[in-house]
Amino acid sequence: MGIISRAFQGRPRDHDEKLPPGQYLVHDFPVLSAGPTPRVPLDRWEFAIDTPEGEVHRWSWEEFQALPQETPTVDLHCVTKWSKFGTEWKGVSLDVLMEDVESAAEYALAYSHGGYTTNLPLEDLLDGKAWIVYEFDGEELAPAHGGPARLLVPHLYLWKSAKWVKGIRLLNEDWPGFWETAGYHNYGDPWREQRYQGD
């Protein structure tokens, strides 16, 4: 038996198991920014998905609100090493948005107001793994956190959850985004600690 019992280790064991390697738990919601915060009026907000085959699907704010809504509760993992457990969101699953999209594309590039981009395999947006969210913790999503709406892909590091998202471009070839071309990992799996290129 060890000198120090588990009871004195400070954190419940299930927290340790929910925390990817190299991460620490926070209770606030840090804001990291790579540029000025865009302010997007709802009457001019639009979300689009386009395909290499030339299809474009668009939703106004009203059309987006009329889609089936989900309320995912997820853990967030930022590449700067903080994690936040049990965050509550409201939004639309990418499965709903992709329902009528026909394409052979295997890659996706999310793009945002302000010029931010991030890439990921299309399959990482499907099967209940990703949402376009517009409420956090029961309140409308603040601009600092990506409001009016952001992408939420909680199984990857948080830079993949593009703030101020305005569309997703489906692609036949992978097209690295803002941080992925600036030194960060192309995929960004927190459980494999894929922080930087070469990890």
């Binding site: 790579a34 540029g35 830079w159 960060y184």
Partner: protein, 89 residues
Amino acid sequence: MEHLDYQDGNALAGPLSEIFTFDVTVAQGTCAGCGRRGALAELRVYGPEPGLVARCPGCEEVVLTFVRGPKDAWLDLRGSVSLRIPITE
């Protein structure tokens, strides 16, 4: 007055001194977005995490990014046409 969420380009001096032997903030840069010329000290620097993002004060386009990992550093000069570096004899 609205709180500024960036620092001026002098915030680049410390991190980039690890790579360059001269003070980068006095170098004159030309923005690829709008052609504006000025000292790197005039850029608007966001970060430092997940990386430094220096934007043109004229058009807000990204002039350079700097990401410092534990084993490598990445300097991306995506929005910089040129850097004019004063050389002292």
